[in-house]
């Protein structure tokens, strides 16, 4: 869907802003801008997940969204990520991504667990080629779940990315096979989450579900979060979304820094995942993947 310009940095939005100029600072709280509000909500979700589930892990895909997630987790837990960061590795990521993982995994003191995916032959042969390739990740995820017995997986999906993701809950129950029953989602309101998965099943937790692509970039810039350089334009092209090398294509762009990316997003009507082959094979391929447990 259409991406709005974010209101980041616009203190004038908030109630307290006009007041704070007239009264002493300690009398009134600094106003919250749009990014502050998103951040506070995400921190709340992280803390709920950590408090209510027994064994959780964060899915680190190395992309811009999951890097923001790690940053938010460190905010929530005062500098630490108190659960493992799980990289389900298809083995086909860009070299820059692997370098990023190895460097920041250490620098951020993550409990990094790299889990491999099964070979392509092990995946549903009726799926179109790119979807089938992506489905390896679902299988790898299932293997990791079985290995560690996590009851909650934190994933960096966003509602604005893709229509089926828009239907997600913040705490999203998965069946015993990791499948998502879109028809029978429990109600979720007033920041009360369903956090009791049946024995053997798990929950997906989506702390940045309410963020947009532009929010992610504005926040990345504000907090100075490291990014993989593939997101910035080189020779008139850049990656808006990073997946496996063979099923991800760059989009035409001249944005060589985050400000230019934000300006570009303000104008574009091209969907974020336009460069992801699996989104375009058939109308329902992505949904079939998600119902089966894909992110």
């Amino acid at each position: 869907m259409h991406l709005l310009k974010t209101d980041s940095g616009t203190d004038g939005l908030s109630f307290a802003a006009s007041v704070s100029e007239q009264v002493p600072v300690e009398q009134t709280a600094p106003s919250m801008d749009h990014l502050d509000q998103l951040e506070a909500q995400s921190i709340y979700i992280f803390r709920e997940a950590f408090a209510r589930l027994k064994k959780i892990a964060l899915l680190w895909s190395l992309g811009k969204d999951s890097n923001v997630m790690i940053w938010l987790a460190r905010k929530a837990f005062f500098g630490r990520v108190p659960f493992p960061a799980l990289h389900v590795d298809t083995g086909k990521k860009f070299p820059e991504m692997y370098r990023f993982r190895d460097h920041y995994g250490k620098e951020w003191e993550l409990d990094l667990r790299v889990e491999p995916c099964p070979p392509i032959d092990a995946v549903d042969p009726t799926l179109p080629p790119a979807a089938r390739s992506a489905a390896r990740k679902t299988e790898g995820l299932k293997m990791a779940l079985a290995k560690y017995g996590f009851d909650g997986l934190i994933a960096g999906i966003r509602r604005d990315e893709e229509a089926t993701r828009a239907k997600e809950r913040v705490f999203s129950p998965r069946g015993l096979e990791g499948n998502w029953d879109v028809r029978d989602q429990p109600p979720e309101f007033w920041d009360h989450f369903n956090a009791s998965p049946p024995q053997g099943a798990h929950l997906r937790i989506h702390p940045i579900l309410h963020w947009t692509e532009a929010d992610i970039w504005a926040y990345t810039k504000r907090e100075n979060i490291p990014i993989i350089p593939l997101y910035l334009a080189k020779d008139g092209k850049r990656y808006r979304s990073l997946g496996d090398q063979d099923i991800t294509n760059p989009v035409a762009s001249s944005a060589s820094n985050i400000d230019e990316i934000l300006a570009e997003l303000e104008q574009t009507k091209v969907p974020e995942r336009a460069g992801r082959a699996l989104d375009h094979e058939t109308e329902d391929a992505f949904e079939r993947l998600r119902v089966a447990g894909y992110l």
């Binding site: 259409h2 500098g79 630490r80 309101f189």
Partner: protein, 638 residues
């Protein structure tokens, strides 16, 4: 979360201060919600390039005419069923607002999704088919909007093309729905005739609805106000967790309302423990010296080691929430099995959870029919008012005082089954332990009061030893009994011989003594009797406890006979013994009696006869609604 956006902030079409407003579109299935959304996206230029063409191509490939609703029905399963399954969030902008549209499905099966969506909304659009008019689902959604606290509701009457754009038909529907919403306390911000399919009334007033002078849908959305700030309310920070990752012990939570800063004195509820905020912790910069307001997720350290746990509420001592084991809530029920009296549940109030029992179902309403059912169970998708008894005390507020902490959800078998608003907090009532089934009296309170000519009450006489409490108590007992009432005397000393025989005179034992007196007296009062308690009860805090337990039945009388007079009287010889040092912990000769500050009545027995004083008590009981006023009562019987 609520947006901290003020309605008074300048709203410029392309400026940086565009308020964000979240809206939900609700209404009966097939009345055209998805069509309206598709049309709105188109009219506001919000569709990605090629999306419309792509969907038109898909329709052609399938041999179906294009429908605007296809834009939203992104899931193939939805298109197969012809109903929208779930809430989606879509963004577009009007002249001065960024709108986040939460599409809510209309099929009755999916009410929980509508609630999930509407609970996040600042405003709503209620859609009605011009041909079909107001239906059950329309009324139900209107009711739920009211229940969820969504105050801004714009009504659109869709499919006007199917009634030949009849102004009369429009007025008919407009009057009906306006009356319904007004009855719920919701005034529609606009009622708009439209044809979502053709575009009339969506972004422009076409000639076909030339008789309509009000705003278009886009204009109506542009006038919605964002949520009001919560910072002006009292501080409420529900504790999510306590972290000890290093030598800091951080109490983490989100400030739901109010604000805090290092150095504040706070109270941890429901335990009521007092501490000071030592620091506000953060990352990567810490500690924070500035004040932190509503909406922030923060962490604080305290100046002393206290037991704090998840679910506690941090507040300022002067504006603390009430501690309770019993509350009344207005709820909506989403579970297959109807909610009935005696059901055991899990209640969540913020991060706090407590097992709970449904003590009473006061109302059960199908908001579609708007008829109260007599079976006293709340069915799926129905609403009602219930009394809940909690196994653990919780701290909460009525929702009218705090919309964030005054709401709860109910879980059944680990799944959210309903939610609602806290109407009132019964701070006095002790909980019925969850595993005990209380036996109720065979008599109703009004049967007793009809015979006794009074309501139940706790008349609490406090004052120095020998001030005349027992004398007055006995005189009052005689007076009430003579008039046909049912008074029962609970003398502090008498009860110490039996029920309270295990208690001494330490501060803790005195408190427990008072608590037991209050509990027994309250039980009698609930059964229609007037319990007359005569007890020194020197501690203001203990008497406050008694008042909390007896709640509205409590009438405090300060027998304020001067200390010197009391000591001269000394009928039991206690003052003499105390002066001689033979009676430890005797109230009267020290300064340890804390006089009431707001008693219902103050009586100095050194200046009045017993009969006069009894008259005065009787008068107070009449004017405060305990004793029935004979004149009024006679009039009522004519």
């Amino acid at each position: 979360m609520n947006m901290l956006v003020t309605p008074t902030s300048p709203a410029t079409p392309n400026g940086t201060t565009r308020p964000q407003v979240r809206i939900v579109i609700v209404g009966h299935v097939d009345h055209g919600k998805s069509t309206l959304v598709g049309r709105l996206l188109h009219e506001t230029g919000s569709l990605p390039d090629g999306k419309l063409e792509m969907l038109k191509a898909v329709s052609a490939r399938r041999g179906m005419p294009f429908e605007w609703s296809f834009l939203l029905d992104a899931l193939q399963t939805e298109r197969d069923q012809g109903i929208t399954i779930d809430t989606t969030q879509i963004r577009f902008r009007t002249n001065s607002r960024d709108i986040v549209l939460i599409d809510a499905p209309g099929h009755a099966e999916f009410l929980r999704n509508m609630i999930t969506g509407a609970s996040q909304a600042d405003g709503a659009v209620l859609i009605i088919d011009a041909l079909e008019g107001v239906r059950d689902q329309t009324r139900r959604h209107g009711y739920l909007l009211h229940l969820l606290g969504v105050k801004q509701v714009a009504v659109v009457v869709n499919k006007m093309d199917r009634v030949d754009f009849s102004a009369d038909r429009f007025k008919e529907i407009s009057d009906e729905i306006s009356a319904h919403l007004n009855g719920l306390g919701v005034t529609p911000t606009a009622v708009i005739p439209i044809s979502a399919r053709d575009g009339d009334g969506v972004a422009e007033r076409t000639g076909r609805i030339g008789w309509y002078k009000g705003p278009t849908v886009v204009e109506a959305l542009d006038r919605l106000e964002p949520a009001r700030p919560l910072e002006a309310l009292a501080l409420r920070m529900p504790v999510q967790a306590i972290y000890k990752f290093d030598d800091r012990r951080i109490v983490a939570g989100r400030i739901e309302s109010g604000s805090l800063i290092a150095g504040d004195e706070i109270v941890i509820m429901p335990a009521g423990k007092i501490a000071r905020i030592k620091s506000v912790e953060s990352w990567p910069v810490t500690p924070l010296g500035s004040r932190q307001g509503a909406g922030r997720s923060v962490g604080i350290t305290l100046d002393r080691e206290l037991f704090v746990e998840r679910g506690d509420i941090i507040a300022h001592a002067s504006t603390a929430p009430r501690e309770t084991r019993r509350l009344r809530a207005r709820i909506f029920w989403l579970h297959d099995k109807p909610l009935a009296k005696g059901d055991q549940l899990l209640v969540r109030c913020g991060p706090k959870e407590s097992r709970a029992t449904v003590v009473a179902i006061e109302k059960a309403v199908d908001p579609g029919e708007l008829s109260s059912s007599e079976n006293k169970a709340i069915g799926r998708n129905h609403v009602g008012e219930i009394d809940i008894s909690l196994s653990n005390p919780i701290a909460t507020d009525p929702y009218t005082e705090n919309p964030r902490t005054g709401r709860l959800v109910i879980e059944v078998a680990g799944r959210i089954a309903g939610g609602g608003l806290v109407l009132s907090v019964d701070a006095g009532q002790r909980a019925v332990p969850v595993d005990i089934v209380p036996v109720e009296s065979a008599l109703r309170p009004d049967e007793r009061s009809a015979r006794y000519r009074h309501n139940g009450a706790v008349v609490w006489l406090t004052g120095l030893p020998a001030s005349g409490k027992s004398t007055l108590a006995k005189a009052l007992e005689r007076r009430l009994f003579t008039n046909g009432g049912s008074p029962i005397l609970l003398d502090g000393d008498t009860l110490r011989a039996g029920l309270n025989g295990d208690l001494g005179f330490s501060a803790a034992d005195r408190s427990e003594n008072i608590r037991r007196l209050a509990e027994v007296a309250t039980h009698l009062a609930r059964n229609g009797h007037i319990a007359i308690v005569a007890a020194v009860s020197p501690s203001r805090e203990d008497r406050a406890t008694a008042r909390r337990i007896a709640d509205i039945a409590f009438r405090e009388i300060h027998v304020a006979t001067p200390a010197q007079v009391c000591e001269e009287r000394d009928p039991k010889g206690h003052y003499k013994k105390a002066r001689a040092g033979a009676l430890a912990s005797f109230t009267g000769i020290g300064n340890d009696y804390e006089a009431p500050q707001a008693a219902e009545l103050v009586i100095d027995t050194s200046k009045r006869t017993v009969a006069d004083a009894t008259d005065e008590i009787e008068q107070m009981l009449k004017s405060s609604g305990v004793l029935f006023d004979e004149v009024v009562d006679l009039a009522a019987n004519i």
